[in-house]
Amino acid sequence: MQAKAKLYPKEAARLLREKPGVREAVTGATLHFEEGRKKAYGEMDAEALRERAKRVKDHLLTHLDQYLELAEKRLREKGVQVHWAEGPEEAHRTLREIVARHGVKRAVKAKSMLTEELGVNPLLESLGVEVFETDLGEYLIQLLGEPPSHIVGPAIHLSLPEIQRLFHGRFGTPLDASPEALAAVARKVLREAFLTAELGISGANFLVAETGTLALMENEGNIRLSTSLPKVHVAFVGIEKLLPRLADLALFLPLTARAATGQRLSTYVSLIQGPAKEGEEGPEEVHVVLVDHGRTTLLHDLEAWEVLRCLRCGACLNACPVYRQTGGHPYGYVYSGPIGAVLDPGLLGLEEAYPLPYASTLCGACYEACPVKIPIPKLLLTWRKRAVERGLAPTWERGAIQAFAKVMESPTLYRLFSKALRGLPLPQDLLPLLRAWTEGRGPLKPSPKPFHLLWQELKE
């Protein structure tokens, strides 16, 4: 996917101005999820389980080469064809070959953020393959030609009237059609697609190295149709998505569901063990494409690697009061919200993602929600420090901070500043900041006398 992260501040402001409905829809939905998460965490010793999950992931990431080899071995033993892709080009090559070999004309696809990263849909379309997103939210945004707005709820930013208008234009349903009626229309289209597709595509929530098992979580109950009806199933898996042992699923499946939606477990969990054996129903071929796309580089970044623990549950988005105002689109890349702000600079390079680490007040709600305890605020600070070191901060900001530091390093200047605040002209560098502040909040009203002068009166 083409990243537009650089535009974040402008796009966030524009969205707030032009599409106030997004803010309303996203706030409502995320607060609902967040409430669910809090309740679901409250039912267990969340702190202990998060700590355990963090340790399992840390162990995995620090032994990743061994687990990747083991996973490949086990997958092959099960008859799965394993491919490695350093980036989109290699992933595309693999997919192109499969499409050509099987003469694929139609594909059904389960929701997957990694395939958004790789641009799987545009590739398939360029090959003349018709692609159907089968997750309802993902299907809606596919119809709209939009990227997902949320890691778990891709269409979280849409309101019912918008969806009614969309379906009216596309399928001729009445403008006041009920959600059930709309879902029925989508179901009809998707059923037809499931029955006729030659290729099924999915991501993976987890890949168990010990057994070569793919684990997929969902609530709509149709992932299995993508992974077992078509004769070929291709799963794209980020190399960080591995788990060491099958038993780890007992921790990670419920923890992820609780974090994501407040469910104790997602409604459906599919564990995939390779292609159908003789006498079984299922795909003739299963391919797993293990994708790096910047992850190895990030893994070697001693200050930023912890972000790779991410389970893509979206809990930090739901908890984030900044994300809630705009949804994911202004962030300009696949991963939005707090996790995007620390993952995107790692995957895209800081220059491409510069403003994203500033898309946070450092309130810490994301860290509180994260099931694997990714220290998001700490990582935000790290990326900000690097941004300044690499000269990415705007001139006005550098000037203001330098002026501020100069004033604060000298009690004499500080006292002059204090007087200036009460009537004298202020340093030019600070003026744009003051204007940006007062526009939305009115003039600053300093106390008649600063405390350091009142102290003189208190001393006696």
Binding site: C363, A365, Y367, I401, F404, R441, P446, S447
Partner: protein
Amino acid sequence: MRVALFITCLADQFYAEAGVATVRLLRALGVEVDFPQEQTCCGQPAFNAGHWKEARSLARRTLGIFQDAEYVVLPSGSCASMVKNHYPELLPGDGEALGLSEKVYELSQFLVRVLGVSQLGKGLSGKRIAYHHGCHALRELGVREEPLLLLENAGAEILPWEAAEECCGFGGLFSVKLPEVSLAMADRKLSTLPEAEVLTSTDAGCLLHLSGRMGKGGRNMRVVPLATLLWEAYAG
């Protein structure tokens, strides 16, 4: 017992009365208060924006000023957390930074945890208060119960507030780097604000932001730092 007061630049300039209240309250509780005159800002605005060089030099300055103090008390959760949690990150391996980290407290935290005081007086009888949890006080320092306990024991009624623990959108430079998002966050927070007599919090930045935004929307409510109310709790 002697306490060095770190007033913080925002409180010094915008909520000077809260500093007076802090001194009076601590003295009334038998604590001697010093106010090192050289103090300015802890460096947090620079640190949070990624300007570690400037932040470091302000942190070293502050360390020098407070290194001999027995306790350092701040009427601000955010600045307290800067000194407590971030100075050691900013100056790794610096023994003084660790030493200072251990003796820094936000005011209500100091009253309850160090002085063991939970009852200041009945000066807030019947007052209906909305309490905004500053994020750094809440999540970095773990100050959640202390302010509520002190206010309630002084007779105040803390009104239920759906968004009490939600960030107000101030975030230091965030408020000017992303002004539209910052204001949208304040509006969301204020849209759920109950009809209280007073809005209070540990942090001057949040209060400036929220009261400014409230004023723009034509809403009027007394907005004061926690320190001011704690002194009222004691003095009536």
